[in-house]
């Protein structure tokens, strides 16, 4: 195997998915953080800050917020799974069960949080 593929691919099935998703969600959250530093710093110009945060309330950006929540939740729970595997060697035996628990909590909490974030749209109060 060439070094270009051997460093990032391993035979792991769920472990491989966890690895890829951890990178993708981490990347997405970091990109949002870069944007977020700028939008919060607009607070020194309150009128502009308020306009931008009204914009965050439209349905497209609310969907984006739900995606951010899902990424954050997956990255947090899978990070916990990684730490458990690293510090408690026996946890490796339950690695697949832990991955399912990570996915389960990510989906359930994203659905609940997503409903709350999208409620103004669902109830027809915004477009």
């Amino acid at each position: 195997m060439s070094p270009a593929t051997s460093s990032t691919v391993y035979k792991g099935k769920s472990g491989q998915w966890a690895f890829v998703l951890h990178r993708v969600t981490g990347f997405l959250v970091f990109m949002f953080l870069l944007l977020h530093v700028v939008d919060v710093s607009l607070v020194n110009t309150p009128r502009l800050y308020n306009q931008v945060h009204q914009l965050y309330g439209n349905v497209l950006l609310r969907l984006f917020e739900v995606g951010l929540l899902a990424s954050l939740l997956f990255h947090a729970f899978n990070g916990l799974r990684i730490v458990m595997i690293d510090f408690f060697p026996n946890a490796l035996r339950n690695e697949k069960v832990m991955f399912r628990i990570v996915v389960f909590f990510t989906l359930v909490l994203s659905a609940i949080g997503g409903y709350i974030i999208l409620r103004p749209f669902i109830e027809g109060r915004i477009l």
Partner: protein
């Protein structure tokens, strides 16, 4: 990231004690930093998101909302810690990703220089906002 964990050397009776653990170099500290900052960020980031998107609607978090919150220096400290740990945890994570995917050394140096500059500038900008804000 499990792929970057320090390798445990095989137990050997004749080996001097010092050699049983890998020497603590930059990557060892980076590995610990990711775990410690990650555990702290789980609480900081999820609580922050819950307040600004779940308890309150995003359209309620206007400039007045920020001013009321930053009236308390503890919230400024909270937000600054979240900014610092989030940025450097993310920067270090992206450093791993670039080491894996940007194979050309020259291109990698350029991409890293751009990323470190942007992150450093936004860390300074965010810190300035949190410290100097006046309602």
């Amino acid at each position: 990231m499990t792929t970057t964990s320090p390798q445990r050397p095989l137990p050997s009776a004749n080996r001097p004690k010092m050699e049983r653990r890998p020497r603590a170099n930059f990557e060892t500290w980076s590995w610990y930093f990711m775990r410690v900052s990650g555990l702290i960020l789980i609480f900081l980031a999820l609580l922050h998101f819950s307040i600004t998107h779940i308890l309150y609607d995003v359209t309620d978090t206007d400039a007045k909302f920020v001013a009321a919150r930053w009236d308390n220096p503890l919230w400024r400290a909270y937000d600054w810690l979240l900014l610092a740990l989030g940025l450097f945890h993310g920067l270090n994570g992206l450093r791993f990703i670039m080491d894996d995917y940007v194979r050309n050394p020259k291109r990698r140096a350029v991409v890293k220089a751009v990323l470190y500059t942007i992150t450093g500038a936004l860390f300074a900008y965010g810190t300035l906002t949190i410290v100097t804000f006046k309602a």
